[in-house]
Symmetry: C2
Subunit: 94 residues, 2 copies
């Protein structure tokens, strides 16, 4: 009945990140920071966790002379997100 919720996704910030990445092809660090209202430190940490789990890929490059961090959801991440949403439905559907 009530399935376990992937603890990696059951976090407001990480869920927000994944939610955004579901709807765009890729997103920059600063974009994610703005959209999620997260501090840079917190965002950095949570992106690393998602990356280590293989839910997102992170590419670090430079735009001009400034560092540029670009994130994309992976196929694994997409699947995990969908599974999470399905599990969640059992909790929130009347």
């Amino acid at each position: 009945m009530l399935k376990d919720l992937d603890p990696l996704l059951h976090s407001q910030l990480r869920l927000g990140i994944m939610s955004i990445l579901m709807s765009v092809e890729s997103a920059e660090f600063t974009y994610l920071k703005e959209k999620t209202n997260a501090t840079a430190g917190n965002l950095s940490v949570q992106l690393d966790k998602l990356s280590e789990a293989g839910y997102i890929s992170i590419e670090k490059s430079f735009r001009g002379k400034k560092p540029l961090t670009t994130c994309k959801i992976t196929r694994t991440g997409l699947k995990a997100f969908e599974d999470y949403v399905n599990a969640l439905k059992f909790y929130i559907n009347p």
Copy 2:
């Protein structure tokens, strides 16, 4: 766009408790324990938190000679649950 998720509800166990209490008039400690698969200690702690927030009411009595803890969702809790679900939709809807 992405609203904050009530941290009191954004917890697998507390959400599970609330989800169950949404669908029944009242539930006993042992029933909640079985349905959520929680340990008694964890359940006890989380019920207290929900109770302190006014999201549930807890009545302690005896059935025969054994202690009996009965929980109900409050109007405040019902409202909080609905708000939480609405906020969540922004995260999980495509």
